[in-house]
Amino acid sequence: MKMGLPQKIWIYFLLIVTSAFVFFPVLYAFMISFMTGPEIIQGKFFPESISFENYSKVFSRLPLLSYLLNSFIVSVSVMLGQLVVCSLAAYAFVFFKFKGRDFIFFLFISTMMIPWEATMIPNVFTIRKLDWFNTYQGLTLPFFALAFGTFLLRQHFLTIPKELHEASQIAGLSRFRFFWRVVLPVSKTSLVTLGAYGFLTTWNMYLWPLLITTNKSVRTVQIGLKQLQSQEIATEWGVVMAGVIVVIIPTLLLLFIGQKQLQKGLSQGALK
């Protein structure tokens, strides 16, 4: 697309102003995280000096390191669990012919219309009955099956030529080996998209960990932030913001690295 110089300047102007607006709250939180109490009350934007005191304080007040580790374990488990469960289901939908396939497919679709919040009350009871309060399996297992993830992968699997499947059968490759050796490797991009999506949404999950963690043993960072904010309110905003920055760094990094991939993958899964 060719455009004139005045047009270009105008677009750059809009880009700079609007993206600065969008990014401002994060930048502001970052600045506050280096400030002392009096500086914050004076309403400065730039800290006078870069000191990491707030950061060392936040790590000493909260078991933040163990919360981070918990979040990491939970997010990676859900990510891997989703990849396994969804890719198996998607494989069955694409490469098997069997009775009732359409019906089961419809069942999968229907789960997308049931908001998770509408089922949370019995789910909490189930977790209690299983004695899974404050456990990793209680935090992760309910999220392994995901209709959206199954569709995303199914879309990609459908693009694999049927001849490849037939050839593999003639060559005597078992179903599982075809899945493992051929289907998964050629679907790497969709798997990466789904993985990044699963990690991101699990890391940011709030309501479920709030419901089923009652002590700090498996508590995640998001609940840690709630704790921090209710303990520290009105006193040390610098420390609170240091906590915020620590919590958002992993997902921001992941987003910055995988932005292109995520955007392509998600909009494809959304549409076809």
């Binding site: 609007t18 069997f98 991101l200 309501l207």
Partner: protein
Amino acid sequence: MTRIGTMWRKSLDGRTAALYLLPSIILFSVFVFYPMFRTIYLSFFLTDQTGNAAIMVGFENFQYLLGSSEFQNSMKATGLFVLYTVPITIILALFFALLANEKLKGIGFFRTMYSSTMGISVAASSVIWLFMFNPSIGMFNRLLGVMNLPQIQWLLDPEWALLSVSISTIWMNIGFSFLILLGGLQNIDEHLYESSRIDGAGYFYRLRRITLPMLSPTLFFIITISLINAFQTFGQIDILTKGGPSQSTNLIVYSIYREAFINYQFGTASAQAVILFLIILVVTILQFKLGERKVHYQ
């Protein structure tokens, strides 16, 4: 015997497929279908403290809810919240996506900036906004002070609280909507624009005649997702307002949460959950019915 044998072999595909589908089916049954039916069941009962059905009351829970001013208020707040957040989020995200779709030097940097809010959790965003809304040291009241305008008690004033939560929610949701819309824009075939340029069509003409129609499936998708997400809002309410002041921000999921896990009224909480489910069902069906007519597929 042989007939059974061939049938057994024929259904081999089905049995193997079942093996691959089993994990999903078990998990969906335990954590989606069973609890959904259980929620509907519980909504017809009064329950004890541990959530066991005690006395069957028929539709009384629903009658009670529809007559209670608290629930009416919660529904009204939810409706307003959806109205405040969804259109503005999508319009802003579309505007940003159109800007970021231009092929310019350094455009990758701007794309990252716009999508950044997707990488920030609801809890972290809420804490940042809680600070910005702080009446004495927050940024918003400072700005008002500089401009000699009267101060606002953002999250503490029943007139302003829902609006404040909406503003922060719009910000939180922009990243995701932007990413999806940008993806949609990039899928539009370049050739469509080239022929229109020869005709000398202007930017806004192309926007109206090519870009928006071609983008309509993506727009349709993001509108549906945003509506559903708005009905499911919880985290920012819990951190910013706890449903207050005077219940002005008591959105439906927060209301369910409070009724169930603070008041232990599982029957009425389940009835609310059923209503939430019905609302989302209706929204989804309506969207698809309207979408079929309005959306232009390639």
